[in-house]
């Protein structure tokens, strides 16, 4: 029976691309379509769920469709490009290598390689699936001629219920009115967490001495993460900036629920999952206009064209001291979340890849 199989360099759990890949596999299997995940490198935590990609050569069946989950460089890409089966690229955005240049040459080279992979694969794809119009533009620029925009499928709808004990603990600790800033995203240079710290510093020096920040995200670039800690320390904010990682979805939900504002100054976002998570938990948002942020956020937050520390501090403190405005933005977030229809994304994704399968690779 012809199947729809996914190829991902490494299948990570608690990772946006990894969870997206697992969700799609489960949806396909639930729809009665044979679907396996093949990887270049096994992750010990998910090794039981993946097969070595070269095994596919002996397992291929006529009529199969291959879905390549694309976010970084992989030696597998060249092999995939040479396969005869119809190819779907599920594109999750490539963080531009320039961001990693000052921090990690190895990652920088991987990202440069990823761009070369994209140029190789995009013209070959029967269908490109992007999670945002921003990503769709990148796919199109790389030569993909048929593109669908379908949001991520791994955002839980309805939102996860917060962990009660964590929520109680955070509310007790974060008792300063309007002082709880939250920033969510892996600690990587494109996320510009240092600018949130700088803005917090200005806010404390000028208008809210009790303001503090929880930075929730895995330290994916250790040198950058270490620099963030040093920066906070050098600004006298060691006790005002908390670095949080390795928490459950329910604990993360508690952070959203207990905070006063989500501050997101990222400079490159293919989608911006924290935005929709914050909307789901009723948390107002201040964000920088970059990447897919404007199209995901819509009018459900304060969008900044400039992010000088003083400007960000003013925007955040202005918002957290205006309960009417907070209520308005929270309500706008709920409306925006319904409009994004993330609950329907899985169905759209399955239909899109099945369309390629049904057409024999000429398109959905």
């Amino acid at each position: 029976m012809k199947g729809i199989h996914q190829f991902v360099p490494m299948l990570h759990s608690h990772d946006a691309v990894g969870e997206h890949t697992r969700s799609l596999r489960d949806l396909l299997v639930a729809a009665g379509v044979p679907s396996h995940v093949y990887s270049e490198i096994p992750d010990p935590a998910t090794a039981g769920e993946t097969r070595p990609y070269l095994d596919y050569e002996s397992e291929a069946e006529a009529g199969d469709v291959l879905v390549y989950q694309f976010a970084t460089y992989s030696a597998m890409a060249e092999w995939v490009a040479a396969r005869p089966e119809p190819l779907v690229i599920n594109y999750h955005s490539i963080t531009p290598p320039e961001y990693f240049g000052p921090w990690n040459n190895a990652i920088t080279r991987l990202q440069v390689g990823a761009r070369a992979d994209l140029d190789r694969l995009a013209p070959r794809a029967a269908l490109g699936i992007a999670v945002s119009r921003f990503d769709a533009d990148e796919l199109g620029a790389a030569g993909c001629s048929r593109i669908s925009v379908i949001p991520v499928v791994n955002v839980q709808v309805p939102p996860v219920e917060p962990d009660g004990a964590t929520l109680d603990r955070l509310r007790e600790r974060w008792s300063d009115p309007g002082g709880a800033w939250l920033s969510v995203g892996r600690l990587a240079p494109n996320k510009a967490h240092q600018q949130v710290i700088a803005a917090l510093f200005v806010a404390r020096a000028t208008s809210n001495p009790g303001a503090h920040l929880a930075l929730v995200g895995s330290p994916s670039e250790p040198a950058y993460a270490a620099a963030l800690r040093r920066y906070a320390s050098s600004l006298g904010l060691a006790d005002a900036v908390e670095f949080v990682s390795g928490i459950s979805d329910a604990e993360l939900a508690a952070h959203y629920r207990a905070a006063d504002v989500l501050v997101m100054l990222s400079e490159h976002e293919g989608f911006g999952v924290p935005l929709v998570e914050a909307m789901g938990q009723g948390l107002p948002i201040v964000a920088f206009r970059a990447g897919a942020v404007p199209e995901i956020l819509g009018d459900a937050g304060i969008l900044l064209d400039h992010k000088g520390p003083r400007r960000v501090a003013e925007a955040v403190c202005g918002l957290t001291s205006d309960s009417g405005e907070q209520d308005r933005l929270v309500e706008a977030g709920r409306v925006r979340l319904r409009a994004l229809d993330l609950g329907g994304a899985g169905k759209l994704l399955v239909e899109a890849v099945q369309g390629v399968s049904a057409s024999g690779g000429t398109g959905p």
């Binding site: 920088t108 200005v202 020096a205 400039h306 400007r311």
Partner: protein
Amino acid sequence: MSGKDERVTDDEQPGPDEEELLAAFDRLRPQGSLRWGFDDAMRRVANTDGQAAAGAAPWEGLPTDLWERGRTARIGRRFVGDVAGVLAGLLAADARRVADAAVAGVNAANWDALRYLAARVELLEARVDPVGLEVADLSVPAPDTGEWAEAVGTWLHPSDSESTIFVGELGDGALLDALREAGRRVRGVDPRGASIWEAFARAGREGQPDSADRPAPELVFGEVAGRLATMPDGSTGGVVLSGCVDRLDLVGKVGLVHQAVRVTEAGGAVVLLATDQSAWDRSLPLPARDLLPGRPLHPETWLLLLRRAGAADPVWHRPVQGAVHAVVARVER
């Protein structure tokens, strides 16, 4: 602030003070460190496949800027240690010669030379920074220089002088405020962001930072020694140093005194506000006391160092209430 489709705010770009705040983070990037540069270069040199060969790396080729990185290492001292920073300057010439040769003709002999050079650097790094601790990670309280805030003004040039006074490390800001109150033009430098921003905030709160009788201070977020090193000879009316004079290692302290005397104009003064040795020992956590590269010198030692740096008639003022000595010397040309 509201828009039809999106709420957009569009204000001016960051001011100079904000840029200083953000630049402080840029200085923490490992690209500016000699250690990182060598490690990265060695990985590429050792891996001789096509991807990593000289000039073939997709992001940057073999670092022909190795010698430039040596220079930046002197600025990014927190990463390589003060002594390594000085040595970086000496090694820079070696590194440049070898790197140039390696790029000009890729061969095993040149690569071997680079490896040996890297080994030398590693040995030096291990000696100057054996535990890998950084000053920023250890709690060092800023000295309380308030006792001398008024007196410092009398030790400097006449108050009608237009010359700028260089204040190296701001502490609680009392000294800076006193000099500004006396109508002095002041340039304050501090590696602690909190000190700089508290000074900015105070100047802003006063509402008239640009008035003629209280000129706005020029505030710089950075290392004092690095800033002094960039200033021309005789370019400032006086230098007042605190904090760094306690914390730096001996090489750094000697360099600091020479730089302070060099940049002070004829007739100006160098003022060192140095913490009392026993007070320093009492105030620091034990690990910091043991592991910090430097500790305060006795005022007698400062007198000697100032004389050897070319300053005239150095005088030691003992504290009456606090734990900070003042050592003052004039500069004559």
